[in-house]
Subunit: 97 residues, 2 copies
Amino acid sequence: MIRHVALFTWTDDATDEQKAAVATALATLPAAIPQIRAYTFGPDAGINPGSHDFAVVADFDDLDDYLAYRDDAGHQAVIAEYIKPILASRAAVQLSL
Amino acid sequence: MIRHVALFTWTDDATDEQKAAVATALATLPAAIPQIRAYTFGPDAGINPGSHDFAVVADFDDLDDYLAYRDDAGHQAVIAEYIKPILASRAAVQLSL
């Protein structure tokens, strides 16, 4: 299994509407990309100071399925239209489990 | 459910032995902390450039269980003895799912 983890911080001038639109757009992907086995995402819960602002954890059966997701045109459109305009920083890891 | 996600980068002078010791130490925690529902961790798989070096994804039934893990003395000892000596940067999010 490949578990893809990505954490984002948003720009200071990102609006609540822009932040919410990221989640709304990501929520469309599991129905559109059959390679996704499990998909969790959302804003930081605000428990600890200094956290990043948003997380995505996505599970795939294997590397090919992860790459299909990574390079999917619909996924890339979500990144370009909703994430990149408010992205301040990104941290990511792929775990091979 | 609370899903805790933490990504680390290691210092340039961290040795392979030090990096491996982090995983060995983390592997002891699920048996020691009964609040952990699921625990995945490991080094980045090397698929994409610019990734962080290591990830932990830990699931808990609720906030109290996450806090018990966060503040557990054995967990704090792993952080102090194995992670902090080679830690260059850390990114974390807690998802409320």
